[in-house]
């Protein structure tokens, strides 16, 4: 019974929070876009190109955050064999890949006018590219097995091994010489950024976070139905 009780509880909770997540995403996204495109000043060095930051930085944060969520879910799948954890990790991977792709491409679009190049093989950019390939690897591995449980376990192992990449990405700008600027929000003391730029950044970041939980709920619901479909068809073929 326990195996079924917990997805049932998840579905009840998901049904209750999903409209709030959807509404919150849309409102904060609208606010973030308004602040980012109309209400924030151009940068005194970078001019209007600084507006790429309001997509790039939240997308890069999400790339790391979604991976961290997958790593936690993978650990609880492997340790406690919680069935929802595997579905949550599976549902999260394409969203994380999407955010990582956005971070890479918007970074490239920002790098061209500011650094004079679309791409450099430095520590930050390369480690984020590896993160993108890790996401693709997780998606491929999850679907590579006949049994979905085996696929989820294999991909959980890869997710945990790959999580060493997270601190490498975070500290790459401090450990190695790079074109990429170091963190300006989370550095000790006051952030090195004006509030007029901080607000659009935080609005977009929260909007992206709510978006992630909204879409992951939609995807987990789909996965739960898929699992039920598989059980039903198995029952039917055995019944004959």
């Amino acid at each position: 019974m326990h195996r079924f009780a917990s997805p049932a509880r998840f579905l009840r909770l998901a049904g209750a929070v999903q409209p709030w997540l959807a509404g919150g995403t849309l409102v904060l996204m609208a606010l973030g876009l308004y602040l980012a495109l109309f209400d924030s000043p151009p940068d005194y060095q970078q001019g209007e190109s600084v507006r790429i930051m309001y997509i790039h930085v939240p997308a890069a944060w999400m790339a790391l955050f979604v991976y961290a969520c997958i790593a936690v879910a993978s650990a609880s799948l492997l340790v406690w064999r919680h069935p929802l954890a595997g579905l949550f990790a599976k549902a999260s991977a394409p969203i994380g890949a999407g955010f990582t792709f956005l971070a890479l491409v918007t970074g490239s679009l920002w790098g061209k006018p500011m650094w004079g190049t679309w791409w450099v093989w430095d520590a930050r950019l390369t480690s984020v590219l590896i993160l993108f390939f890790l996401y693709l690897g997780l998606i491929a591995l999850t679907n590579a097995f006949e049994s979905p449980e085996r696929g989820q376990r294999a991909s959980a192992v890869l997710a945990l091994v790959g999580s060493v990449n997270l601190p490498i990405i975070k500290f790459s700008v401090d450990w190695w010489n790079t074109l990429h600027q170091p963190a300006s929000i989370t550095r000790m003391g006051t952030p090195a950024i004006d509030p007029s730029m901080l607000w659009p950044l935080f609005s977009m970041a929260i909007a992206f976070t709510l978006y992630y939980f909204w879409v992951v709920i939609v995807r987990v619901r789909g996965e739960l139905i898929e699992a039920r479909l598989r059980a039903l068809t198995r029952l039917q073929t055995e019944g004959r």
Partner: protein
């Protein structure tokens, strides 16, 4: 209309700024649309399957909900 042109020009960075926002919109809307279409498709499939099983197909689900 001068101010709209200024806005769209993005201080000369239009070719970098607008593709970034456009791409973000495409990726986020696309991911959501694909996820929801997949959910709807599976829901329809499940309904059809449960109908075809008919009254004989007692629902195991109820036992789980009662907990």
């Amino acid at each position: 209309m001068g101010s709209l042109d200024d806005f769209l020009a993005m201080g000369g960075y239009a070719v970098y700024v607008w593709p970034a926002y456009l791409l973000a919109a495409i990726v986020l809307i696309g991911l959501f649309a694909v996820s929801r279409a997949e959910l709807r498709r599976r829901e329809r499939h499940l309904q059809a399957l449960e109908r075809s099983r008919g009254a004989a197909g007692h629902r195991r689900r109820r036992g789980g909900d009662a907990r």
